[in-house]
């Protein structure tokens, strides 16, 4: 009897685990690098903080200013991020999704954890130019935030560590796993002929860096972009000072490309066809160029169309318009 009860308990636990896992991401995905056992109160607090310009010096810029949910948590239509006092940054804001599967953040990987990453834009003088003591004082003056922090972390809880943790918890909920590609993989939909051909091209020409199912290895690579002499951005080299890291940038996921234009770390391309033109005709050779790109990626006109058709199956509209991701209402 006791054995049966224990077995039943384990079965219930297993079912619960599977149910939870299935609801967050598909079973053909790898395990995330950080736990997705998240706290709903911390998520709620993090969501308010993410959308609140209170985190910037003059309360004019929020995380959402550069990471709008409707563009898959990046900005669209301008190449470089816009910051406080109308300043323009030096890089295209990266899209925020599937962060639990990543170990380095930002284009050059300067942050090794999501919490560490959160401090970067808040303190950066051309992004939010925040001062953590000042922010904490502002939050402590708010009845609303006193209540939210108390619910998430118990009493007397407004401090930098909790602020960063709450922001991270909210961002870890940003899981994009419901594109047409995912539906096809789950056997719930089928590619059309053009998408299927595009998928075959993708698997032979793109998958080594933009590996399924996350569509990135999240490693760093030089994809042969000619250096922009105005920005003079050396990528990961600026962090490591290792010449082997010159012009290396984090490989972005190809999910949600429909929403995340312009493309590349400096937003130089506004369409997917411009990106394909680069890989076919525009690669700048250097000692750090990714070996797989040494001969470029040559595609016929039909193949380009087919590849783009497939890439657009990675658009996750449900993610982009998910109400739980949108700005909260007081």
């Amino acid at each position: 009897m006791k054995k049966a009860a224990v077995s039943f308990f384990l079965l219930v636990l297993l079912c619960a685990f599977n149910l939870r896992r299935d609801s967050l991401f598909p079973d053909y995905w790898p395990e995330p690098r950080v736990s997705l056992s998240l706290d709903s109160q911390k998520i709620a607090l993090g969501r308010f903080l993410f959308y609140d310009p209170i985190l910037s010096r003059d309360s004019s810029v929020s995380c959402e200013s550069c990471h709008s949910p409707y563009s898959s948590f990046t900005h669209i239509d301008h190449a470089l991020s816009h910051g406080i006092d109308n300043q323009i940054g030096t890089r295209n804001a990266p899209a925020l999704f599937n962060l639990a599967w990543q170990s380095h953040f930002m284009w050059d990987g300067i942050a090794n954890s999501l919490q560490e990453q959160n401090t970067q834009p808040i303190l950066n003088p051309i992004e939010m130019d925040g001062d953590m003591d000042f922010i904490i004082r502002k939050l402590k003056r708010s009845d609303h935030y006193r209540e939210l922090f108390a619910k998430a972390f118990r009493v007397d809880a407004i401090n930098e560590a909790h602020l960063l943790e709450a922001l991270s918890e909210f961002q870890l909920t940003l899981i994009s796993a419901n594109s047409k590609y995912d539906q096809v993989m789950a056997g719930k939909a089928e590619f059309n002929e053009m998408e299927r051909k595009g998928y075959e091209i993708f698997k032979t020409r793109c998958n080594s860096c933009h590996t399924e199912p996350l569509f990135s290895t999240y490693a760093f690579a030089n994809n042969g972009l000619p250096a922009d002499t105005a920005l003079n951005d050396l990528g990961r080299y600026s962090l490591t000072l290792n010449p082997k890291d010159s012009f290396l940038f984090k490989i972005p996921s190809l999910r949600n490309l429909k929403y995340t234009f312009p493309y590349m770390h400096d937003g130089r391309f506004t369409s997917l066809y411009q990106v394909l033109d680069h890989y076919q005709f525009g690669i700048a050779f250097s000692t750090t160029l990714a070996p797989v790109l040494k001969n470029g990626i040559h595609l016929s006109s039909n193949e380009r169309t087919e590849l783009v058709a497939f890439l657009l199956t990675l658009s996750d509209e449900a993610f982009v318009f998910k109400p739980e991701h949108a700005a909260p209402r007081n």
């Binding site: 816009h82 323009i88 929403y259």
Partner: protein, 224 residues
């Protein structure tokens, strides 16, 4: 059928045709102008001092009125005039099917009421993929102009509906009772003559409101 019956039938048809009230569809075109010419990205590129790469402007809450502010038309969906796609916004759908309205109202930009209208928010031309959605508390960019002016790069993203620097501009025009074809001409000359010292405007503020006001002040309703 006798001849008399035929004549009677023809007469009745003529009478019924004459009895039908003639309802003209009001046609409205929105056209930005510079130097007295309709603006297009191509034509501006010929002007050496200005190289315009982006021009996007929202027009919303287009309303036709007749007789002492009695509203006659439903609100048309907000439209985006994107010069990379078209040079003119045209309103000639059922919303404009009115019998000689007295006045026209519209908004340059997108106000908070439109954003809170679930019929329009995030749909059609308000789809964020158009690149004009800003943030949750400032709404949409009303006017986005980018390019080079006098050999200096500029990016003007004018928007925001909250005080003290709301840049939403309401326009009201009387209409001619004998006309039904109209052009709203938005003259940009004053805006370039009073160009901001800081040519990068990315957030709501005094300059954003000033430039949108200049655009509104130089709007003209022209009827054919």
């Amino acid at each position: 059928m006798s001849k008399a019956w035929k004549w009677l039938l023809i007469s009745m048809l003529c009478f019924s045709w004459q009895a039908q009230p003639t309802i003209y569809k009001t046609e409205l075109k929105v056209i930005p102008y510079l130097g007295g010419e309709p603006l297009s990205l191509k034509s501006v590129q010929a002007n050496q001092s200005l190289h315009l790469t982006t021009f996007k402007l929202y027009i919303s809450n287009v309303l036709l009125f007749k007789k002492f502010d009695k509203e006659l038309a439903p609100i048309a969906a907000p439209q985006l005039l994107d010069l990379s796609e078209k040079n003119i916004l045209e309103y000639e759908d059922e919303n404009m099917h009115l019998d000689y309205p007295d006045s026209l109202e519209l908004i340059l930009g997108v106000d908070s009421q439109t954003i809170s209208n679930q019929m329009f928010f995030l749909k059609g031309d308000l789809d964020p993929i158009k690149g004009m959605y800003w943030t949750w508390h400032t709404g949409y960019v009303h006017l986005k102009m980018e390019g080079q002016y006098k050999q200096k790069k500029f990016e003007l993203h004018l928007g925001g509906y909250q005080g003290p620097y709301s840049s939403v501009q309401s326009l009201h025009f009387a209409m001619d009772k004998n006309k039904h074809r109209y052009e709203l001409r938005l003259h940009l000359d004053a805006l370039f003559q009073q160009f901001p010292d800081d040519p990068f405007i990315m957030s709501p503020g005094r300059e954003s409101a000033r430039l949108m006001q200049l655009l509104a002040e130089n709007a003209e309703l022209y009827s054919e």
